[in-house]
Subunit: 158 residues, 3 copies
Amino acid sequence: MGDKKTTLVVFSGDLDKALAGFIIATGSAAMGNQVAMFFTFWGLNILRKKQAVPVKKSWMDKMFGWMLPRGPQKLGLSKLHFGGLGPIMMRATMKKKNVATLDELIQLAQELDVKLIACTMSMEVLGIQKEELIDGLEYAGVATYISEANAGNINLFV
Amino acid sequence: MGDKKTTLVVFSGDLDKALAGFIIATGSAAMGNQVAMFFTFWGLNILRKKQAVPVKKSWMDKMFGWMLPRGPQKLGLSKLHFGGLGPIMMRATMKKKNVATLDELIQLAQELDVKLIACTMSMEVLGIQKEELIDGLEYAGVATYISEANAGNINLFV
Amino acid sequence: MGDKKTTLVVFSGDLDKALAGFIIATGSAAMGNQVAMFFTFWGLNILRKKQAVPVKKSWMDKMFGWMLPRGPQKLGLSKLHFGGLGPIMMRATMKKKNVATLDELIQLAQELDVKLIACTMSMEVLGIQKEELIDGLEYAGVATYISEANAGNINLFV
């Protein structure tokens, strides 16, 4: 790996922003940058497993769990939602044009050693537990982010 | 203070993004970074006093004043609004889980010498006057931002 | 030109975010920074010509073409939409207060040698062709962005 560093705070849980974030992350990694992505707030939705995982939750945490989308295939768009038509069109056109899906980009990121880090404070707030997130993640707080980003060449908030 | 610098452009006036911005800002400051936050457009709403302040305004400026939320406790969420339920749930769960409120984070930022800078051009556009904003702010334009950010290790747009 | 660099990923196609992006870009350039703006996803809408341009498109690409706004004067706001009232008020108040319009800022950016780069992958996904975008653009992919941003002092995602 090179000595250039990229960090992304992935705050958004929108499909389009997640795609942009992962394209920048995997593009950076492919060019030799060390890359770390920090998933906070709605960004955690990107990392949720498709299936419901049986964990003990408070009533409020359960409610957040129901309200929030579970994984890449359930995310909406930040724009052009059109009652759900936008996301369907976007997924269809990307498939037709052979653009990588978000699922594929996440896998590619992991193969390229992009660090995927779930923000523990956001997990606490939204009542999301480790068992509900995909494998291969790291868990950290804001201090880890600051250390990494202080040494970063590219630091973005998505 | 250390010699690392963090700058944030706080463009958004959403509660969740404001929280993320202030967590990064106070986290940076706690780790020794010099931190400056530039509040532009809707981000100015975060700095508004809770009470209406009697100032002279044009009809258009008054209208913006009515339409825009006044201070941290009136901000909505960027997602999961659910007719106002989302913000209530978010505030409730953060309180229950002892996460700092936005009001507390703003105070913490000021105690940690985070510079809070209101963008004067945005104030002009939205018709917001100094009297309507909280105490302890600095006022500046884009040139000040560029100077600070050119020397920044972490520069984010929130 | 100086040796400081600014890059912006303009992901959003909202009027307010576009304004913020161009104010930072032109401000940077005016202070001697080299500036490159990468327009991806909805950000491409900012660069569309006002008039429909007769190009051959698939059914899906045509549909995206109809759904997406064509150029600066058709963009909405990220907040305060109020059924179209927000953007009208914003444009009116900016005009009254002599703030540059987005059209003027784009022209200013070009005069200041800000590189305006359209993301070719996003063009492919949204079915947008070169003929439909304004003159004076460069065309590139994520690799170009990473190279530029690795050398950037200020890198933002808008």
